[in-house]
């Protein structure tokens, strides 16, 4: 096995096994990875179009039982700056989102110990009664907690939440889908199989989801490859993942501290994701963690989507990283890179082309 054999395999549309993926990760230089990722992207997205979604992250609470060591956002219950948003506050945020052309809201906690399935059923139903908006909310960690608290299965939980108005599920909390890493960085959070179980059930019920990967912490390269292969395996089974979103650990204000991935490591990992995940249609660039410059360059390293305008974002900001980009800036970055730009919805259908 050599680099040229692997490159040839990628270019001819064949799938890489984990050993080949790892070899590529270790041996290929930045430009080679970019070229291979671009070849895969070109095959899947020949139209030279880059999309983005207009949405808002609404963090309904910052109280969290997980207390992950990489997180700067969570608070203990009873802490002076702990909060739960009221329904009115949530409604106001949704109204603002819609008035800015938004199509989706991404609601995530905190996994609050007092909030059960009835709370979310009521919340989603009252949102749907008022607004025509995609409810893309609750990561697998929250769904698992709600299910356990109500002592019902994941499937039953999802059926009830779906009925109340939950449309799709964001892929957060995947971190690294390897328990060795999870035990170190997020010992109280669900294990990798639990995360997959929620996604499998959601896909079976026809709810699309995304998948993420947070890297740059304590994981090895082997574990990154393992993460990608686990996402790929479930996707073969369900075809329910719309997009994959790798982003980097942000060490500011966290218990874990330390360093994170550099820009070169980010772009290489992004490119490897595009190459390995031959069955996931879209790859998002993460301007929230990388900034506008690298997010734009990421379009040559496999990304075909600029993520969200993020009218509001709190979690990365809590780690001291606050990049802001307007819709106009996103469109102008996409064009400057030689692509057409279009707003999409959660299902990646085009809402509005930018001319």
């Amino acid at each position: 096995m050599g680099l040229s054999d692997i490159s040839e395999k990628v270019r001819s549309g064949k799938r890489l096994d984990p050993a080949e993926g790892l070899f590529l990760f270790n041996e290929a230089d930045l430009l080679t990875l970019g070229e291979l990722a671009s070849a895969v992207k070109q095959r899947l997205h020949p139209e030279r179009l880059v999309t983005f979604v207009v949405d808002r992250n609404i963090n309904y609470t910052n109280v969290c039982v997980n207390k992950c060591r990489f997180c700067a956002f969570y608070r203990e219950q009873g802490s002076p700056d702990a909060y739960i948003l009221t329904k009115d506050e949530i409604f106001r945020k949704i109204e603002e989102t819609i008035s800015l052309g938004g199509t989706q809201i991404l609601m995530q906690g905190g996994v609050h110990p007092d909030l059960g399935i009835e709370y979310f059923e009521d919340l989603f139903a009252s949102i749907k009664a008022r607004f025509a908006v995609q409810v893309h909310s609750l990561s697998p960690s929250e769904i698992t907690y709600v299910a356990r608290k109500a002592n019902i299965t994941i499937g039953e939980t999802l059926i009830r939440l779906k009925k109340a108005g939950l449309d799709s599920i964001p892929g957060g909390g995947a971190e690294i889908l390897v328990d060795r890493v999870r035990e170190q960085v997020s010992p109280n959070k669900i294990r990798w199989r639990d995360w997959m179980d929620v996604m499998r059930e959601a896909h079976r019920l026809g709810m699309p989801t995304t998948a993420t990967m947070m890297f740059g912490g304590l994981e090895t390269r082997e574990e990154i490859v393992q993460h990608l292969v686990r996402v790929r395996d479930l996707q073969d089974e369900t075809h329910g993942f719309t997009a994959f979103i790798p982003w980097t650990y942000q060490p500011g204000n966290t218990e874990l501290g330390g360093r994170t991935a550099t820009a070169v490591e980010y772009l290489k990992t992004l490119a490897l994701s595009r190459v390995m995940l031959d069955n996931v249609p879209n790859i998002q660039a993460s301007w929230v963690t990388q900034g506008a410059k690298i997010a734009q360059v990421a379009l040559e390293f496999g990304a075909n989507d600029f993520g969200s305008t993020m009218i509001e974002e709190n979690v990365v900001a809590a780690a001291g990283v606050t990049f802001r980009l307007s819709r106009e800036e996103i469109v102008s970055l996409i064009r400057d890179a030689g692509y057409a730009a279009a707003q999409r919805n959660t299902a990646y259908d085009i809402v509005k082309r930018e001319f």
């Binding site: 550099t262 820009a263 772009l267 410059k293 360059v297 800036e329």
Partner: protein, 357 residues
């Protein structure tokens, strides 16, 4: 000219034309530009990436010029104006970390300090720091000092050289195209004069760098012409060590544009510079302006130098630059290593101090 044909010329070692340069800038094939530029960088400098431990000293921000792209300059008496005495400068120099090998000294054009003040400053620094290279005065300052001294540019440079001046930085080139230059900085010396000062410096054995300010109101043709003008002078003198494209930061300036250049534009400009300037050894990414992330990625786009462990840079900061202004030596080394390259600490004239392999 299609990019593939230009790629063949690059591989064959042929010099690129003005049309080639324009086609490269117009291309969206960023990775192809990176490939070509990396090929040239590898031939010139191998896997090495240079850095220097230096300290920036900006003795005053009071300036008789009023360049529209500058957020640093002040008039005398204006809020925020400052000037350092020679003793202040020495104090600051004394705070340099051990291992600093270069003082990079550039300033506003102060309305009333006499020529002798500059000679005294250099003498004082050389007396106390005989082992530290003094890289000082852009061509714009040299022109101004020659007016103050009443001497020719050549004699002015000789006097400064005798007092300890070791080489010239590349600032003040901005963009040579007269129309754009007139809009940006009407009071500043012309591009022709900048080149004349540099040529004179090179002729008396002083080496220098060269820069280009991009991302404001210039055209792609203006950029290519700027690069080719430098290449032409370099053919005659060989005196440029490094070329440094400077990305325009618009905050707090009179030019209304997006706050920063894009990542694409930064990487393209570095790569095209590497490709057109076949006779300049080093292409430098100035991380203070580009940020650490683009700087690191630029090592695959023709860059072989990432400047220094700059301490307290004020000029970019005033225009909304977001870097902290300090990167330690270890951070620079780490940035180079995680990009898969070999860090080489250098002195100002690219003598090797240490290789990390």
């Amino acid at each position: 000219m299609p990019i593939e044909l230009i790629h063949h010329k690059v591989l064959a070692g042929e010099r690129l034309s003005r049309e080639d340069g324009i086609a490269l800038f117009r291309s969206h094939d960023l990775l192809a530009l990176g490939r070509m530029a990396s090929h040239v960088a590898l031939q010139k400098n191998g896997n090495r990436v240079y850095f220097v431990q230096n300290m920036h000293i900006n003795p005053t921000n009071i300036c008789v010029n009023r360049c529209k792209f500058c957020a640093f300059s002040r008039s005398r008496g204006e809020a925020g104006a400052y000037e350092m005495s020679i003793e202040d400068i020495l104090q600051k120099a004394r705070s340099a970390q051990p291992g600093v090998r270069e003082f990079h000294i550039v300033s506003g054009l102060h309305p009333d300090l006499p020529f002798s003040w500059y000679i005294d400053m250099l003498n004082a620094l050389r007396r106390e720091f005989p082992h530290i290279h003094l890289k000082a005065f852009t061509a714009v300052e040299i022109d101004y000092l020659s007016k103050l001294s009443g001497l020719s540019v050549r004699d002015t440079l000789m006097k400064l050289n005798e007092a300890g001046l070791g080489s010239l930085p590349g600032g003040g080139a901005e963009i040579f195209a007269p129309g754009v230059r007139n809009t940006l900085c009407a009071e500043k010396i012309s591009g022709a004069r900048w080149l004349e000062v540099m040529e004179t410096a090179h002729r008396i054995g002083l080496r220098s760098n060269a820069t280009m300010l991009y991302g404001h109101i210039e055209s792609i043709e203006d950029r290519v012409d700027h690069l080719l003008t430098l290449r032409e002078l370099q053919d005659r003198t060989g005196g440029f060590n490094a070329f440094i494209p400077l990305s325009f930061h618009s905050q707090n300036t009179e030019i209304k544009k997006a706050a920063f250049t894009t990542g694409f534009d930064d990487l393209k400009t570095l790569a095209v510079s590497r490709l057109l300037l076949d006779n300049i050894d080093h292409i430098k990414a100035y991380w203070i302006m580009l940020g650490e992330k683009i700087t690191q990625v630029s090592l695959s786009f023709g860059v072989d130098d990432i400047d220094g462990t700059v301490v307290e840079e004020r000029i970019t900061k005033m225009a909304g630059g977001t870097t902290e202004g300090i990167m330690t030596k270890n951070e620079l080394i780490d940035l180079i290593c995680t990009a898969g390259r070999t860090p080489v600490e250098r002195d100002t004239l690219y003598g090797t101090v240490r290789i990390w392999d």
